[in-house]
Amino acid sequence: MGVLYFFQQLINGLSYGSILALLAIGYTMIYGILGLINFAHGEIFMIGAFCSYLLIMNAAASFWTGLIGAIGGAVLAGLLIEKLVYGPCLKKSPEVLTVFIASFGASLGLRNIFVMIFGDGRRAFPTPEFLEGIIVTKSGLFLNVKDLWILAITGILLISVTLFIKYTKVGTAMRAIAYDPNAAMLVGVNSATLVLLAFIIGSGLAGISAVSYGISFGIVNPSMGYIIGLNGFIAAVLGGIGNIPGAAIAGYIIGLGEVLFVAFLPPAWSAIRPLFVWALLFLILFIKPSGLFRPNIKIE
């Protein structure tokens, strides 16, 4: 277990972290604007993966069309959930608990609809040839081409989202509304538009994340969004809720941590891999409940 092995695992961790980082942004963005945890976000991710899977397998679409399909499908799912579940729910009874349960309901409902239609078996995700290669560096490091693609695309997306949130007027308004929706209203922000925008961005990123997952793990199935969705949510909490770069960094911390946890502990321990994430969440809630970075909400 030398330096090489460490670097090898580091790249695996970064690749997995990329998937979580993109997911975590959706959780944190929607929490910032609506003040609710969208537990159906994992299912939006799953729907994205299924859209690209079905397009590529059944409609002979190219990988790129499949990717666009994943984004489109995830965005559509996100908007529908907002329109059919959260919108009416927040209008009728804006209590935290009601929305919380509705969110779980949407998650369970969607997952089981997909189980009914497709069965819960795992299906092989069609990874295109150009992503299958392995590059061997001079030092003997094995680099999966797909990992490099995932890292590059995620990197570009994360930088774009961060710049958007930090410097544009709409991005600033999204942060403002997270802190004080009423004051944002008073300067003329139409929150309904921004809610839709948050669902579009968050779900779109989940769709891309889902394709990364597909090519990375090689499978899709209706429950694929469950555990990874929880991990994304934990990343959002760890990064300081509402803090978008924070959520992304926390996604990488969890991804790296989980992979290194498995890589450096006895193989028998790998079964308790999920424990790492939960132990981490427990620690954060215990030591620094507001997360590693500054939350982007008003703390009374």
């Binding site: 007027k169 600033t172 308004a173 004051a183 008073l186 300067v187 003329g188 922000v189 500054r294 909400i297």
Partner: protein, 235 residues
């Protein structure tokens, strides 16, 4: 300019405002004074569109704006600095002002307004990159007013600008309010500090338990025996 006709409004089943009639004319500073819980802030919230009115109409420049959402009211030229200031603590001072100009489409106008606000409150310029949360109470109030005037509103609603501030700071804020008024904004000022409000305003309404109890020239109201006894502490 602004006219409230027989406004009835409240929260849920609790009626807070019972038949409010109020007017602000072009160029005026009008004060709305009264004790805590009289319905002053509720009146403001009806004008900004935060709260929909149960009955009655609100006219702005002859146009019916009753129960329009805030994002449709702001572009008409109505700005508001809310009670408790409500600045965006997670944003920098500059970003707060940027949010104030959220609806300004023209870049040149936005720049001009930004410079004007920084001139009005030089302290905001000094602290432009600081988080708004880190400002003192007085500076936060300046920021809230600065944010509200970013669109150079023709009608400015100020809710309790003196609340919780030291007298020296209150004087500074009130100087700026006069300056904003001289620049051409009409102002509706909600204030618990009745003496101060009657000094700066030309007309005033005294509100008690959701009704306009008295109204008239600020100068004559200041001499009114009821106002003197109840609000100015003269015996």
């Amino acid at each position: 300019m602004l006219k409230l006709n027989h406004i009835i409004a409240g929260y849920g089943k609790a009626e807070v405002l019972h038949d409010i009639n109020l007017e602000v004319k072009e160029g005026e500073v009008v004060a709305l004074v009264g004790p805590n819980g009289a319905g002053k802030t509720t009146t403001i919230r009806c004008i900004t569109g935060e709260l929909s009115v149960t009955k009655g109409t609100i006219l702005y420049k002859g146009k019916d704006i009753t129960s329009l959402p805030p994002y449709k009211i702001v572009p008409l030229g109505i700005g508001c600095s809310p009670e408790g200031r409500n600045i965006f603590g997670n944003l920098s001072v500059y970003e707060n002002l940027k949010m104030g100009g959220y609806l300004l489409k023209e870049k040149a106008l936005y720049q001009e307004q930004l410079e004007w606000v920084y001139q009005l409150f030089p302290k905001l310029w000094d602290r432009r990159d600081q988080l708004a949360e880190s400002l003192s109470g007085g500076e936060q109030q300046m920021l809230a007013i600065g944010r509200a005037v970013m669109t150079r509103p023709q009608l400015l609603l100020l809710d309790e600008p003196s609340l919780g501030l030291a007298p020296v700071v209150v004087d500074q804020i009130y100087e700026k309010i006069e300056e904003i008024s001289q620049q051409g904004s009409s102002i509706l000022l909600v204030e618990q500090n009745v003496r101060l409000a009657l000094e700066i305003s030309s007309r005033a309404y005294v509100m008690e338990s959701g009704q306009i109890h008295l109204s008239g020239d600020s100068a004559s109201l200041a001499k009114d025996s009821y106002v003197e006894e109840t609000y100015l502490g003269v015996r």
